[in-house]
């Protein structure tokens, strides 16, 4: 209760502001229509009309909620009209990109910590890679992967997602693998531990808190990458594709519903990653 009350208060505030904004933004259209029809309207007449326009500038919360409900629960989950179905498509792309991003990030971090030459030459470019707008590369990724015989859109999507998600993992893992201090390293040396043993018994366990902390960031980045990959590059399936179609056909409700479905997906992913983190910590004997 202690924690829920402030959150609820802020949420209520947001909803109130949202309604006010919806009235204000959608009213222009009502006035415009009335003017075209040569009628006078008062605010009392306008407000109800701002609440259920088919193409509102800003749909009020209940409209978005209704559309979201329709998409989530009123369809068979296997139907193309179901947001669950598209959410799963997006989830698949996110997980593939996330997995790929973790593998690339961890391997690179290991190489960077082990070899000074990698540290010096690759690390600056890893930072620069994140300043390249990935969307600009998307068409290239699609053509190149189709030339390699991967004609589906899954691979390009996963590559884009991995491109965004490997970086937080890399940065945290480098920090984590370097976190054991000299005393601990010296201790292992006195035990006569080799490089492999030092890595397995000291560096790797020491890096785990950093690793899990980076996962939350990485999974969110991966989701953004997947949606960006679906949005402009071959709108076929997934939440990003629905946003595009909603935009093209002037159906803002479809767009908003897809946006909120993506938000729910993000929330679930972060929750799951948090649970995995707690589980892993407990197994490793770290007090939660």
């Amino acid at each position: 209760m202690n924690r829920a009350l402030p959150v609820l208060t802020v949420l209520t505030g947001i909803v109130v502001i949202w309604y006010a904004a919806a009235v204000w933004m959608n009213a222009a259209w009502v006035f415009d229509q009335a003017q075209r029809a040569g009628q006078e309207v008062t605010w009392a007449e306008v407000i109800p009309q701002t609440m259920d326009q088919p193409r509102p500038l800003l749909p009020p919360p209940h409209q978005v909620g209704a559309e979201l409900w329709k998409g989530l629960f009123d369809q068979a989950v296997t139907s193309k009209r179901s947001l669950v179905y598209h959410g799963i498509v997006t989830l698949k792309g996110t997980m593939m990109g996330f997995g790929l991003g973790i593998v690339v990030g961890v391997l690179l971090a290991m190489a960077i910590v082990r070899f000074r030459v990698m540290d010096l030459s690759v690390m600056p470019w890893a930072i620069i890679s994140q300043t390249v707008p990935i969307v600009a590369l998307a068409p290239m990724i699609i053509t190149v992967s189709s030339q390699l015989g991967l004609s589906g859109r899954d691979v390009p999507k996963a590559v884009i997602a991995a491109y965004l998600s490997f970086f937080p993992v890399l940065v945290s893992m480098v920090k984590g693998l370097r976190s054991p201090d000299q005393m601990q390293l010296d201790l292992l040396k006195t035990y006569g531990a080799g490089e492999a043993a030092t890595f397995l018994k000291l560096r790797l366990p020491a890096s785990m808190p950093y690793f899990f902390a980076s996962l939350k960031v990485a999974v969110a980045a991966s989701l953004v990458g997947t949606i960006v990959g679906e949005l402009p590059t071959g709108a076929i399936e997934g939440l990003g594709a629905r946003m595009l179609i909603g935009s093209q056909f002037g159906e803002p409700l479809i767009m908003w519903a897809a946006l909120f479905a993506a938000a729910i997906l993000a929330g679930l992913l972060i929750l799951v990653v948090g649970m995995v983190e707690r589980l892993a910590r407990r197994r490793m004997g770290v007090p939660a």
Binding site: T78, S79, K80, T143, Q147, P232, A235, I236, E251
Partner: protein, 326 residues
């Protein structure tokens, strides 16, 4: 979905290894604009010819010309200006069939801006699509003598997104629309036809050919590929004619194939009705006069022309001659 999968599975079993694979890259997302191909696939016209056709939907970031250059498709749906521009860039695209006889492109303006004829465009903001679709517009403006850099007396151009908002929000006086799509979204949004002024490119004499089928020239030299394309064009045209005659059914087939599930029956049926008007009168064979007019329009494109010289060999009747022979 399951039934569809089973059908597809059975179809692939039946045709077996003898089926010739064809990958078709569309110019845009799955919609009635491409109904003929979806009908041909769903009605088994491709299968009858022994073809196994994969239809790849496009999107805002997918240039069919680039896809075919990368080997991601065997044949693409593209507009002639973009295809000719790619040809000048060294990608030898050849038009093998032209299911669309007419152009559906127009400029739609709000009457309240006072625009009545093209010369009223001066000092107005006009919305245009880019991504290879801007060429006809630029040619038209240069023929009208308007500069497009926003200087006084010229027009201000903005790149419109994928919807009609710029007109509804009055950010532009006119926007590009297709007769079969965006125009109706303006109407749907509650603006009456009498509040709009439209200029069809077809009526202004600056129409360019849209939605033709293009392949790479060097592959066309291969008789086996030629044979495949003859079958493909024959089946596709059968699909188009079927779609023209049964627009509602065609729209439902398109809807069935839309994987986003965000398209609506109302939109697609209406779009199919308008598309049928554009494909009517084409048997698939390219009207050379229309192609030459396209070239002339593009060559008139002022200081920054789309193409600098008339192309040679950019279209061929080899395929359609054979496809339409029987």
């Amino acid at each position: 979905m399951k039934r569809l999968l089973t059908a597809a599975f059975l179809a692939s079993m039946a045709s077996g290894a003898s089926a010739e694979d064809v990958k078709l890259q569309l110019k845009w997302v799955t919609q009635a604009q491409f109904a003929g191909y979806y009908v041909a696939k769903d009605k088994g016209f491709y299968e009858e010819e022994g073809l196994n056709v994969t239809i790849l939907p496009g999107g805002p970031d997918i240039a069919p010309t680039q896809v075919i250059a990368g080997g991601g498709a065997d044949v693409i749906v593209e507009w002639m200006p973009a295809a000719l521009a790619a040809r000048e860039k060294g990608l030898p695209l050849v038009n093998i069939a032209q299911p669309f006889a007419k152009s559906g492109m127009m400029l739609t303006c709000l009457a309240e801006t006072g625009i009545k004829e093209p010369k009223d465009f001066a000092d107005k903001t006009l919305g245009v699509w880019f991504f290879g679709n801007e060429y006809p517009f630029l040619s038209w403006m240069s023929q009208l003598g308007f500069k497009t850099d926003g200087s006084p007396g010229g027009v201000t151009v903005l790149k419109q997104g994928f919807n009609v908002d710029p007109l509804l929000q009055k950010q532009a006086a006119c926007i590009s629309t297709m007769t079969y799509n965006e125009y109706w979204q303006v109407i749907d949004a509650g603006i009456k036809p009498e509040d709009l002024v439209t200029f069809k490119y077809e009526d202004q004499g600056v129409a360019t050919l849209e939605d033709g089928l293009y392949v790479l020239e060097d592959r066309l030299a291969d008789p086996a590929f030629q044979e495949t394309m003859v079958k493909f064009v024959r089946a596709s045209m059968k699909g188009w004619k079927y779609a023209e005659e049964n627009p509602d059914e065609a729209a439902m087939i398109v809807l069935e194939n839309d994987q986003t599930g965000a398209q609506t029956e109302q939109h697609q049926k209406r779009m199919m009705g308008e598309i049928a008007k554009l494909t009517a009168g084409s048997n698939g064979a390219l009207d050379v006069a229309a192609a030459e007019q396209t070239v002339a329009t593009l060559l008139a494109g002022g200081s920054d022309p789309v193409i600098t010289k008339a192309p040679e060999g950019a279209w061929t009747s080899v395929i359609t001659d054979k496809a339409l022979a029987n």
